[in-house]
């Protein structure tokens, strides 16, 4: 995801002199380094100083530039939170805050580097649009959209590296504010977003092969939510299961609330990160598992409840 973002930005920014990259002491890999070398004036490193990164992005945007503010998700959103809220959202500026390693992607670095609440927090801020791509193709589409949209500030939650393509053969293109079907035709619907979509696709295949046919819906735009698309998903399936790499107050709660509002008769299950700091170090899936987001546990829960 990181590389696809950098490549896409490089291409856009090469042809659009308004595009700027502001980073806070994060190593510019691949195309980002090339952009820094070719356009040093439009690549700014504020150092270990995230408040000025966001504040400057706001000021630059007010004077007609299109800044991306880019660093590790915790430092992009949490450390300068009031600048994101006041300078970007209150002022309604189309700046993109890019959080690398959203969720618990930085699985060996401990909770200081886990943006396990990022989506829930970002969704609660007025005017902040929240995007979480599930694969490099969505990263590219979103980056292109972010660079020129006039709607307002965006929190773009990326993973890290090595995420597989999941949407290559999907006819429906990514569109801001719309849900997307990865697999269709099942009796039960699994709803997710972001890096763990690959895990959910694997889950869906396993469930389907064991006789529980499932569809997979991704929600690349967490805010504004596509309530209409979600309602359709609920109505066309016997049950819905939300699986998300975030603490419990994000998409799962929204879907539960929607199900209540529309009088949905099926079961609504939610699987999320725990509302807890987990002192565990290992692979991404190790940390997810420590939080209870493991294939085995979800499948077990699924089978028990669909009997």
């Amino acid at each position: 995801m990181r590389n696809r973002f950098a490549e896409t930005f490089f291409e856009i920014a090469t042809n659009d002199s308004r595009q700027c990259m502001i980073v806070a002491d994060i190593s510019p890999a691949g195309s980002m380094a090339r952009f820094r070398d070719e356009h040093p004036d439009r690549f700014i490193n504020t150092g270990v100083a995230e408040q000025v990164m966001i504040g400057m992005a706001a000021g630059m945007c007010q004077r007609g530039l299109r800044p991306f503010a880019y660093t590790i998700a915790t430092f992009a959103l949490y450390r300068p939170f009031e600048m994101v809220r006041d300078d970007l959202c209150y002022q309604g500026l189309p700046v993109t805050v890019v959080g690398i390693g959203g969720g618990v992607t930085y699985s060996t670095l401990g909770a200081t580097h886990h943006a396990q609440e990022d989506v829930a927090i970002a969704m609660s801020v007025p005017r902040l649009n929240v995007l979480a791509p599930c694969d490099p193709l969505e990263v590219e589409a979103m980056t292109r959209w972010c660079a020129t949209q006039e709607i307002g500030p965006v929190y773009l939650r990326l993973g890290k590296a090595g995420e597989p393509k999941l949407t290559e053969h999907i006819a429906q293109p990514w569109e801001f504010g719309r849900v997307r079907w990865i697999r269709t035709g099942g009796d039960h619907c699994i709803i997710t977003y972001g890096v763990i979509t690959k895990m959910v696709v694997d889950l869906s295949e396993e469930l389907t092969s064991s006789g529980i046919s499932t569809s997979v819906l991704t929600v690349p735009t967490l805010k504004p939510l596509d309530y209409e698309g979600l309602a359709e998903a609920l109505k066309s399936h016997d049950s819905v299961t939300v699986i998300e790499e975030c603490v419990p107050r994000a998409l799962g709660m929204e879907v539960q609330s929607l199900a209540f509002r529309i009088g949905y008769g099926g079961a609504v299950r939610t699987f999320s990160l725990q509302d807890e700091f987990i002192h565990c170090y290992g692979s991404h899936s190790d940390i997810l598992q420590a939080h209870g987001l493991s294939l085995d546990r979800i499948i077990e829960g699924f089978k028990m409840q669909t009997k």
């Binding site: 700014i44 150092g47 100083a49 000025v52 992005a57 630059m60 007010q62 004077r63 209150y90 002022q91």
Partner: protein, 261 residues
């Protein structure tokens, strides 16, 4: 030039008048920087397009900006009369989108970073637009202010001037008593790569000289010694008047004193 004296008398009177229409208003923080904002806005800034930028980082001092904007026709008298009412558009802190307001401020320690971004954008565009940012001494306690100061110097923002309304008061207490390690200020700015000038923040000539001393090659700081509540004896150095409207009798006395300046 004595015009500044008469303008500032007029501005203080206007602010006192508005104070009688609302239950509370930041009088003292506005009187502290009345001459500063007057000299910057009316004498230093270029107002032909592309206009220079004025950013009030100490948002609670915005009454002085409002009355200047109204005098220049950028805001209307109706705007001032409807201050802090549901039918109006002016609040106790500046709101971006309102004519003449460069940024939404109010939470301290934000304005200088935004000003640095605006100044850098103008540098990238190759324009001659200058950015003037008024900060309070209290808000320089925010770490973000020093992040912005460091970056402004790294980027050699010669088109950025920060004016410190150095009235020795934060919300709770005198800065010099509660936070002696905050001083000295000028050496701190110099060590961060800024040029620095000091002035009497209520003397127009002194302010002009300090503003003009920027070399245009690096960011410039003007540290202005000011009196919170300047111009009204019972408000001067009295933190009570940070956010309070005077009674009728207090208003009458304040007007008398302002007229005598």
């Amino acid at each position: 030039m004595t015009d500044s004296v008469s303008r500032c008398r007029r501005y203080r009177r206007r602010i006192l008048d508005i104070s009688q229409r609302v239950t509370a208003l930041h009088i003292a923080p506005a009187f502290s920087c009345t001459e500063l904002v007057d000299v910057i806005y009316n004498e230093t800034m270029r107002h032909d397009a592309p206009e220079d930028i004025f950013l009030m980082s100490k948002g609670h001092g915005c009454m002085i900006l409002y009355v200047i904007l109204a005098e220049r026709g950028i805001l209307s008298d109706e705007d001032l009369l409807s201050y802090c009412t549901p039918s109006g558009r002016l609040g106790a802190h500046p709101d971006f989108g309102t004519p003449g307001i460069a940024a939404s401020t109010g939470s301290l320690g934000h304005g200088l970073s935004i000003a640095a971004g605006q100044a850098y954008a103008e540098f990238l565009k190759g324009s001659h637009v200058k950015t003037f940012c008024v900060v309070s001494d209290g808000e320089l306690q925010e770490g973000s202010s020093w992040e912005a100061m460091m970056m402004s110097a790294n980027l050699r923002l010669g088109n950025l001037t920060m004016i410190v309304d150095n009235n020795d008061f934060s919300g709770l207490e005198r800065m010099s008593i509660g936070h002696p390690a905050f001083y000295p200020l000028t050496q701190k700015f110099e060590s961060f790569g800024w040029s620095v000038a000091t002035c009497d923040g209520h003397d127009a000539d002194s302010i002009r000289t300090a503003l003009a001393s920027s070399d245009g090659k690096r960011p410039h700081a003007v540290v202005a010694t000011t009196v919170k509540g300047k111009g009204v004896s019972f408000m001067e150095h009295e933190n009570l008047w940070h956010y309070r409207s005077p009674s009728q009798a207090e208003y009458a006395q304040a007007i008398r004193e302002v007229e005598q300046t």
